[in-house]
Symmetry: C3
């Protein structure tokens, strides 16, 4: 895989907002030119390699559907008004609608209209990928105002044809082939938290990881249409990944100011979950831990029984729970670019913790090392001495038997593993600590 | 073992009460004709095969005692009144009393009288199986009214002679030889919760299990005098059962309206205990879980170190705890035939759960199966969709790796395993699920 | 190792106080004649064998320092007053001070003075074993009163010379070579809870264990200067001990009236910790359990990764927590000889529990033994029977499968293992219980 070359950027709320604004208006789906255009924009901030999977390809239990493209869509009311205009809001059209151009009675039209009574101003987001159908999504208020008599003209200028599905990925090599997976999706039209937060957080995280001077792990970034795109990706790369993935996270619904929610992988004692819980516990902001469940995103594929990668997910306002989910209300006013930066930073803390974590081995196993002669211990037992710091060091050495990783050692002392970073550096220099 | 043939019956409170009334007056003991007569009555509703073990037979660490039979017993007071009449309440005689017919002073009589000061109206239930003795049980109120002067005539027309101990059992064959044990005792004279609830619940449960169209498990029903009877049974069948028993329950004290108490087997992570706890948790009525303890019934034998079968027990008002236990107050007014039906139904839920439980295996292990093309998924992501039901199905498939049984899978979703029954049927039909 | 012969003594508060008073005035350090003199006094109540390790010996990662001895020390103030007199309180001199006799300005003196602002009347305890230095410890109140002008004469008549480090130990043989380690330190000058409580509790415990008629375990008592002394001891005996030690405790800070604190070993499921927690739970006095930590005493060496003996510690007011720690306020008025006796008794309960604990095996594994024919069961089911006691016995037999030790069996019944002592004796006599 050749890398697209991009320049290094400082990850700021402004940068994130700039790309949000570029991506927002595009009508994406699980295939098509809107999807490709979105990938091209994202390639400016994360050097994704794109791959195309032709219509009709068998991918595991699934088949790549026809490619969908759309030019325009609207309804003409009996009194000649143009409503549900695709060009005003691309949610108005049922995603993957077949082309249509005909006049219908209200009674017939009604069967093809989608609205949410409990959110009367919201346009719902609806799809029909695997069953041919046409339809429009409309606010309940507008629906109620429609004339029940007269004929409506419905126009959807779409095509469903032989084509391909597009996904992108990039692998940042580290010293080891052991991999950390970061995955998100690109396939929803104009939605914010449940679409653009994932790719934008991923791009920010890419920038930070690429800037690391030294990387132990190899990082795999996957950006694909949800479900079918990831299934196609795993069809090709899954068996290799099964051997390599140590840790993984699905980035989704992580762009608003809601408290962090960490959803565990199926392997609840995995390094993925241990590092996430450890980092979150030592950040002084509220968070919640929830178990793995199938109502979510692509962790469903990654954690399917045959793969069962240790893949968790750090979200904020989570799918199905916030009322704006899958509607036109999940928009720029719902999210926060400062919060998105904090999400990036928290994921980056997971990464730094994973890079620091190891099974350290104290080379002086019998009794404690004499720290004083190595300049690592104060020369008197003065009450001024920073006892917490010295005890951190002695704790680290005492538990470094090569069988417990740093996270365990830190948790036993109820302190952050980052508190040991400097001690590890000194002890490695003095050769009383090495990585097992 | 040949089966006694019985007709199928509907298990109703009326049926249970009818047999309760038939069994109540009989004076049972660990041997004797009262015991045999009770078995004959029960054979009308559960086709027990009876076996006789002769007096003097060595059974494990024990020996079958002489057979005890009794015709009559009473005391004639100094003023000629007949009291403690066996024919009025068979609890009046110390169970297993040797024959006696003599005149004694009150001082001598008193050594052979049993009463409970804290329950002044209750006649206690007392036995002396393994030490020859005679005695009468009397309410404390009556005891206090006795004349301390004059001579009393004591008459017990009993026999202790070479004979045998009787027990009954029946095995309902299933597709597999793996067995579920249901065991209770028959040996107490006229008592209700701590005697007749067990055999009556067992008979009701037999009727329901026998009516199942299909049985995976083989069901073994054991009805024997407590302790010595079950020891004799295990002397003969224990080593075979040790190889076959997967699950077992002792039926006792389960006939009154008290809340359910589930007493665990010694193997607290056994299928026996897991299924009981799972079913009880998803019934919307109160219950309590208690650990295994030796103060109980025949689980003491079944869970003895050499056998250690996974045998638990679902009770209501439990032995030693309710004040009427082992007295004349444990009678028809203490129990409830509706509650007994609910006990039968709950045990039957354990059975249905065991029949449904299995290690299922999703035949599409890599990524999720495409449910839509099999008609198992709604064709659009409409908000009207029953998400709980679809997610149940996806959860089932995601966790069906063949390593976890259905109970575990249901518990991970905090839902009843019966919620998966229909999904399992559909998925087995579509060949995306099979039993591992 | 030959045993010093001592007479047996009754362990009373008076005895403990007598030896406290003898040991208190001596200026101890990690080497030197004060240390040797203290050992000689202790040999009157615990028959320690002494060993000397020469200066310069390499012991694991450490080296035995020069031997330190001191005759006198004081400061003459500009106005001719003698202060910080070693002969009044041996804490006044920085322990391991090099000799000095010179006049210095206040500015220079101040760099060699140690005090605690938050405890203005306390003389701190300070050491400088591994970096040559001189100094005085002084109360903050006295420090504040010092004249900042004029010259001070500082005199320390000490020697640092080739010599040796002294430690003592004694091994009480039992039937088995499996060992229980009891370890404490001797190296602080006049301090009470954090110095003399350990050796005095050890001596009392020695007296009680030596008086046992029968001992299953071998008991190793180690008394050495903290850290370097135990490192020297482990350098010589550690590899043998690694094979032999089943249980161990470090005796420290156990002489005041504070509630018991039990600090676990690193192996939290060790017999060491299980027995301590079990005994403490069934003593009806308050206690607290804390995890292993490096801020403590010689458990740091015993639990170092290469050895990792199961060594815990029962303390009262614990190091670093009570404000008098490492100051002149940790004196006779801080401690309680009655409390020290209770500490000895509690440790002795650990010992008795360890001696009683075993994996017992019920020789009648299939169904319960008939207890009646062995005189172990009441002949009738009278309500007067002590059911708790009978059920204890039946519980013991039911769980004695040879795989669970007595502590586990007792914990399952939530009762003290000592409640089974008499039953075990009876059952062993009747040959229905044996040690696996």
């Amino acid at each position: 895989m050749e890398h697209v070359r991009i320049e290094k950027m400082k990850v700021t709320p402004q940068l994130i907002e700039e790309y949000f604004d570029k991506l927002w208006p595009i009508c994406r789906s699980i295939t098509g030119n809107g999807l490709r255009e979105s990938f091209r924009i994202l390639q400016q901030i994360i050097p994704l390699q794109l791959e195309e999977v032709p219509t009709g390809s068998k991918v595991l239990d699934w088949e790549i559907p026809k490619e969908w493209n759309i030019e325009d869509a609207y309804i003409i009311t009996p009194d000649g008004k143009k409503i549900c205009e695709f060009n005003i809001n691309n949610l108005h059209v049922l995603n993957y609608s077949i082309p249509v151009d005909k006049e219908v009675e209200f009674e017939e039209l009604e069967k093809h209209l989608y609205y949410i009574e409990s959110l009367p101003d919201a346009i719902p987001y609806m799809t029909s990928y695997y069953k041919e159908n046409w339809g429009f999504c409309i606010s309940h208020n507008q629906f109620k105002s429609l004339d029940k008599n007269g004929r409506y003209r419905v126009v959807i200028k779409s095509t469903l044809a032989q084509g391909s599905l597009t996904y992108g990925h990039v692998v940042l090599k580290g010293e080891s082939d052991r991999e950390i997976l970061l995955s998100t999706y690109l396939c929803h039209p104009s939605m914010a938290n449940n679409e653009l937060s994932g790719p934008l957080v991923m791009a920010g995280l890419y920038q930070k990881i690429a800037a690391l001077k030294k990387r132990k792990y190899t990082y795999r970034f996957v950006l694909a249409p949800e479900t079918i795109g990831v299934i196609a990706y795993l069809h090709k790369y899954g068996m290799y990944m099964k051997e390599q993935i140590d840790v993984g996270y699905v980035l989704t619904c992580c762009g608003d100011a809601g408290d962090f929610i960490y959803k565990m992988s199926k392997k609840e004692d995995s390094l993925t979950d241990r590092v996430a819980k450890h980092v979150l516990k030592h950040q002084e902001i509220p968070f919640k831990i929830i178990p793995f469940s199938v109502g979510g995103s692509d962790e469903r594929q990654y954690c399917s029984p045959g793969f069962n990668f240790p893949v968790g997910s750090l979200t904020r306002s989570i799918y199905h729970v916030y009322k704006e989910y899958h509607t036109s209300l999940d928009n720029k006013s719902f999210i926060s670019f400062d919060a998105m930066i904090k999400t990036i930073e928290t994921y980056f803390c997971f990464v730094k913790a994973l890079e620091l974590n190891a099974n350290y081995y104290n080379t002086i196993q019998f009794c404690e090392p004499q720290l004083g002669k190595r300049g690592l211990y104060p020369s008197s037992n003065s009450p001024d001495v920073n006892r917490k710091k010295i005890h951190d060091l002695m704790h680290l050495l005492s538990f470094s038997d090569g069988k417990h990783d740093l996270i365990e050692i830190a948790e036993k002392r109820n302190t952050s593993l980052f508190d040991f970073e400097e001690h590890i550096q000194h002890c490695v220099e003095k050769e009383i600590l090495k990585i097992q």
